[in-house]
Point group: C2
């Protein structure tokens, strides 16, 4: 936590000059109660979250509140609304809990936190070691829980993270995001948003056991007045073996297909193709792995919010039955030094995809105040790059590369 705390303080120092909060809006914002709420759930919050109070007092003392109000840019106003929304949500949770009538923001947050607990428990049972758990908060509201099991018995590195963000997107992030979501106005300087998601990457030690990735997220953008502007769900899950067992790929895809089919028969074929296209290491001319499903922009133009949330829930719940049986089968298989080396080379390509092509990683690294260690927990513990490494002709390694260059239909 030492580095995260430092990072938050550094960021706070950078942002401080923009925090021009007029006295009139300050009262309405109920900072005190929000801070108590955050502190009660996360003891570290009070330490790492800079209090805006001295700044406001200083402004009032100087008698420049009115001037500051005039000086507020749209971006400043938007940033304040996001903090306001975070406070309102915290208050709702505190006073009434979260039910089916709560805003989707709170329902999604509750669901992914429950799932995180459940998944972490299952993975600990498989590995025998415990996850480290870091709870962190964001300056403008929100925060997350990052759970990492490193150098375990089964996992080289396993990260299961939940993050809840009330934030403001800078222009470059909006533009990157537009690739998935064409309705966003590319010309605005900044955009308020809410995002809640569960992200997971598991890198097992045994080269016969595949790496798996999962991410499900809910997004809302806000109008300058703070009201909800647009919402959408996105996510998916994909499997990245170093050694390909067809039966594993088939089982993984089958489980996802069942989750999809119970909601819409068109989902699996569409999202399977989308996954192959998205998790593509363009500069290598190969897919990252054997795919799974990927989608974004699931909004009201596709289906109503309630049904889409139900779909997301089923997808996420299908993870344990989709992956654990594969892991159980492979985690104790014998392997050679050469096979471990091949795994390390495949890990290198994984790093390349995540750092060069993944829009999620780019979005995270471009979001001011993001927690870098939580974003990059997806990177493997170790990776290797050998110049001009080529698998032997007709080897198992070669067969994997063939499939990565020409994705198969598994179910």
């Amino acid at each position: 936590m030492a580095s995260a705390g430092r990072q938050v303080r550094r960021l706070a120092a950078q942002l401080r000059p923009n925090l021009k909060i007029p006295a009139a809006q300050h009262a309405k914002r109920q900072w005190g109660s929000a801070q108590r709420a955050a502190s009660s759930s996360t003891p570290r919050a009070a330490l790492s979250r800079p209090s805006p109070l001295p700044l406001c007092c200083a402004a009032v003392a100087l008698g420049i509140a009115a001037l500051l109000t005039l000086q507020l840019t749209t971006a400043d106003a938007a940033r304040l609304d996001v903090a306001f929304l975070a406070d309102k949500d915290a208050q709702k949770k505190r006073e009434a809990g979260v039910s089916d009538d709560s805003p989707m923001r709170l329902r999604m947050e509750k669901f992914i936190k429950e799932q995180q607990l459940l998944i972490v428990k299952e993975l600990e049972a498989v590995d025998g070691k415990r996850f480290r758990r870091d709870e962190w908060t964001r300056k403008n509201g929100g925060g997350g829980i990052t759970c990492v099991l490193q150098d375990g018995n089964v996992f080289e590195k396993a990260g299961v993270g939940v993050s809840v963000v009330y934030g403001t997107l800078p222009k470059p992030a909006i533009q990157k995001m537009r690739a998935d979501h064409k309705t966003l106005d590319p010309d605005v300087e900044s955009l308020d948003f809410f995002a809640a998601g569960l992200s997971m990457v598991l890198h097992p030690k045994n080269p016969m056991a595949p790496t798996v990735h999962l991410n499900y997220r809910y997004f809302e953008t806000a109008n300058p007045d703070g009201s909800s502007q647009a919402w959408w769900f996105g996510g998916g899950s994909d499997l990245t073996p170093s050694y390909l067992f067809d039966e594993d790929a088939i089982h993984f895809h089958k489980t996802l297909k069942e989750a999809c089919d119970s909601h819409d028969k068109t989902y699996y074929p569409r999202f399977k193709k989308w996954c192959d296209k998205y998790f593509y290491n363009k500069h290598r001319g190969e897919c990252r792995g054997v795919g799974g499903i990927f989608f974004d922009d699931l909004d009201e133009s596709e289906r109503d919010q309630e049904n889409t949330f139900a779909f997301i829930q089923d997808c996420l719940k299908s993870f344990i039955p989709g992956y654990l049986p594969i892991l159980e089968k492979r985690k104790d298989m014998p392997f050679t030094v050469k096979e471990k080396e091949w795994q390390q080379i495949r890990r290198g390509k994984y790093v390349e995809f995540n750092l060069v092509h993944d829009r999620g990683t780019a979005f995270g690294l471009n979001t001011p105040g993001s927690r870098v260690e939580s974003i990059l927990m997806s990177l493997p513990l170790t990776a290797s790059w050998k110049y001009m490494h080529e698998p032997e002709p007709r080897s198992r390694e070669q067969r994997l590369v063939h499939v990565l260059r020409d994705p198969k239909e598994w179910v």
Copy 2:
């Protein structure tokens, strides 16, 4: 070479539909002689370079040469001019050799190839193992020589590459490049260019011996009619220790300062600062290493071409005296397992910089037909990412991080 050959063939297949060469221009292009020239110097060229002849013949046979001429887009025309320029240059070299009167393209190519030979020889003498040498050609002209020593006695991975490119920049690459070179028109769809450069990254095994990077390059852009539009030099060299020895940083910077000072006293302070700014891992809030020099856009607005070339030559020649004494001092120092682990973590940050921030890497990966293995030879043989890894307070590791966060003046 197997994979490079495949890559070239795949690219050739992708480009083939665009290769609409009118018969009238075909004769002028002297493809036959250019191909002979390329084949004589690089026997593999004839195999990997697809012959355009059958396409032209087909076009003529169909009697659609005139139609094709009309259909040529500006981008097609430009691409043809670049191939033409490559042929002209190859012919000049063949017939008259390279002298001080030759175009800068040929002089720079000759110089960096001589330097590559010399540096490779020196590094082989230090390591005791030999470099692997791959010569490769590009479809539209140009090519390179990539020398890599992997898993040596001293070097984990050492890459020394020369590349000579006659190419066409797609829009995203132009836009990335504009960050350095504001005179480029961001609105054109493509731009012909020539680039020749020497790139080197050395990752020693011993964690006490620093990684070093060097790159010097010459750039020319071409008007649609093939005439030279603009030229500039760029480059630099920087040192990335895992364990900081002040005397090493001082020696490295001093050597660079001397090379700079003999040309312009303002160069070193300006280019030292530029280096600290450029090799900066923004998402980590730290510099990649202890810097050196970095510059770009050295064109006629700065100084004439002859003097700038002389400066580049002195910089490149200062590499051996700047780095080898450091390596000699450190390569056999004792080290612990913990120190090796710290080096692996620093290697991870090196990978992050190269894949997330380095414009050179992005430029390479965005250039159609680029040789990916030559671009990514800069990545270390092995790297590691540990979640939330923090050096001990007041340790040597901690001191390095302090310096990376707040770059020092070394001379």
